[in-house]
């Protein structure tokens, strides 16, 4: 055991001597900051609701700090040159999410309908599992290019994950909303969250090989490069799959996420604007087409166009057999009553959103209690994570790593856009959750794995190039001179 350890330490120190700073201490300082902010928020909630510092403050702070510390040590040991910001940013979001979930746990109204109560403890366990998966990724994935070998296995894996919720008996029978959960024992899992990562691996491996054909074989027409008909194949297949998701799982978010991720990666791989134009046209055609006959999607669109009417309808029994959503309007009210600076932790009334207050609509709680100023900060933190991902892609030296980093950060950005846009009424509501903030095991665990892969790529990208191998003739050969 000791000899491999010695070798690896020796190896690392050799590289370190070349002189690029690893920035691990910057990461540690930011991480301490990122743990203290949620602890402050936690104390604030307790003081506002119960007039006293909550009893669980110490254990909560220690728990979050311990998890962050484990993450930091794993990065320090296994990815010493990784980006210093990804881990603290994700930790801060996760910590704030925990506080908001715990704050909603305090609401008697939500406990009464079974939405809240002990959820923060669950979320802390999910976070621990997420950090565990994050560590596993960093320890066992020594080089992200290994994933390239599993290009087509990833495709099959992603399709299976996406189709699992449709399997009879396995898909969770939730009558409202999208069919994106599966039921295993007493757990519900959202396989789409994991499919996001697996699919990015497939797209990256596939586009790396095919990008020349997709980029070069084209005709110029009205300032756009039009691809040949037969090169349209892949984008049409992905489009059809995302349409199928939309029809059978009735989830606009998942569908938009996968198609959008593919278009982003296609654009980055080929540098052709025409793919973006095609992608936008195809998603518009698909969404409008499906919305014209799918009642569930129609309800969502109506709630988006006229949330007040839906709210009124949901309050008055009218017997039209449709499920009307009051949440869209309530979320907007929550944002409105928050104003610029918010009501303060624990002093809002976002529990009135009732169902899904701590998952899909958790952003409304932040909007009400932290106000516009807080929401902007949170969106900026998401933006910084995406920026670090894109920066990693720019710095990565291999095309597969570049595409994978772009795909993962693009998917992350799209998910934030789809959820935040839905809650704020910019686009129709979907069944996705805010990464790291929202309550839910699948989401937290999958997003920690995503951050793990990004950290692995950024470690490879920022690692200084190894010194040329010592000349064997110069060092091994000794000239023996007769003295």
């Amino acid at each position: 055991m000791s000899s491999p350890t010695n070798t690896s330490t020796h190896h690392t120190s050799t590289i370190g001597s070349i002189g690029a700073p690893s920035r691990r201490n910057t990461e540690l300082a930011l991480l301490v900051f990122a743990v203290l902010i949620p602890v402050f928020a936690y104390a604030n909630v307790g003081l506002a609701i119960d007039d006293e510092v909550p009893a669980g403050l110490l254990s909560y702070g220690l728990g979050l700090g311990l998890l962050a510390g484990v993450g930091h040590l794993v990065v320090r040991k296994f990815a010493p040159y990784a980006d210093p910001l990804l881990l603290p940013l994700a930790t801060l979001l996760n910590g704030l999410g925990l506080v908001a979930i715990w704050r909603l746990d305090q609401s008697a109204l939500l406990r009464g309908i079974g939405v809240a109560g002990g959820k923060a403890t669950n979320q802390l366990i999910y976070t621990a599992l997420g950090i565990a998966l994050f560590s596993v990724v960093l320890i066992f994935l020594k080089d992200h290019r290994v994933l390239q070998r599993y290009t087509y296995i990833s495709m099959v894996g992603a399709l299976v994950l996406l189709l699992l919720p449709l399997v009879p008996g396995l898909g969770a029978d939730i009558t409202y909303g999208a069919k994106i959960w599966i039921q295993v024992g007493s757990f519900t899992i959202q396989p789409g969250e994991f499919a996001k990562i697996v699919l990015a691996v497939f797209f990256a491996g596939y586009l790396m090989v095919k990008r020349d054909a997709l980029a070069l074989a084209s005709r110029r027409f009205m300032g756009l490069y039009l691809p040949r008909g037969r090169d349209l194949g892949p984008i049409i297949v992905v489009w059809m799959i995302s349409i199928l998701i939309l029809v059978f799982e009735t989830d606009l978010g998942t569908s938009l996420l996968f198609f959008g991720m593919f278009v982003i990666m296609l654009y980055v791989a080929t540098e052709r604007t025409s793919w973006i134009v095609f992608g936008l046209l195809m998603s518009a055609v698909g969404a409008v087409g499906v919305a014209s006959f799918e009642p569930h999607v129609q309800t969502r669109v109506q709630a988006w166009l006229d949330p007040m009417r839906e709210y009124t309808l949901s309050r008055t029994p009218n017997g039209d057999g449709m499920v009307h959503s009051e949440q869209a309007m309530q979320a907007l009210w929550a944002f409105g009553s928050g104003g610029t600076l918010g009501t303060g932790w624990g002093q809002g009334h976002s529990e009135l959103i009732r169902f899904a207050a701590n998952s899909d609509f958790i952003l409304a709680t932040f909007g009400e209690e932290l106000g516009l100023a807080g929401i902007m900060a949170i969106l900026l933190i998401y933006g910084l994570i995406v920026e670090r991902g894109v920066r990693t892609a720019l710095a990565a030296r291999d095309p597969f790593g570049k595409l994978l980093a772009i795909g993962l950060s693009g998917a992350f950005a799209l998910q934030v856009f789809v959820v935040a846009g839905g809650v704020m009424g910019l686009i129709p509501l979907t069944g996705m959750t805010m990464p790291f903030l929202a309550y839910g095991g699948s989401s937290v665990i999958a997003n920690w794995a995503l951050i793990g892969i990004l950290i692995r790529i950024s470690d490879t990208a920022r690692r200084p190039a190894p010194a040329p191998a010592p000349n064997p003739d110069a060092e091994m050969t000794q000239v023996v001179r007769p003295s």
Binding site: P21, F33, N44, L85, A377, I378, R388, R397, R462, P464
Partner: protein, 170 residues
Amino acid sequence: MSELTLTVMRLGFLAVLWLFVIVAVQVIRSDLFGTRVTQRGSRRESGRPQQAARQAAPPPQRQQASGGRQRRNAPTKLVVTEGTLTGTTVALQGQTITLGRAHDSTIVLDDDYASSRHARIYPDRDGQWIVEDLGSTNGTYLDRTRLTTPTPIAPGAPIRIGKTVIELRK
């Protein structure tokens, strides 16, 4: 809890949250201003490589700290003079340049006579550029001689790999 305390805490929390964002952005600044490619021109003019190296100290990510080793007459770019990649140039910044058909090579050769990891060019400790054959099938030629050991490259000497010829130039 008094109204005043809660207001102070509310505003204090927002301030702390924004402080975190600002600190994070400060950390990013090193990415924007740390890699200074233009420094190389002034470094040669000033002729004081040690000082210039110190100026460019914040992490030039991919390159080794090569400042101290740069020679006055050192070549600054690698030019492909024959083959399908004719006209391609790569700036020499102290990094190792790999040549071959492998996707992750610095110069990806599209040539049936090239091996996937054919050769590499790197600076030794004195800043002298060295070409080394990485056990290729068809060999790497410097001028007319096939390489057997890592060999220093004279300026202007053609390095032939399959149908591709490259040179180091100032």
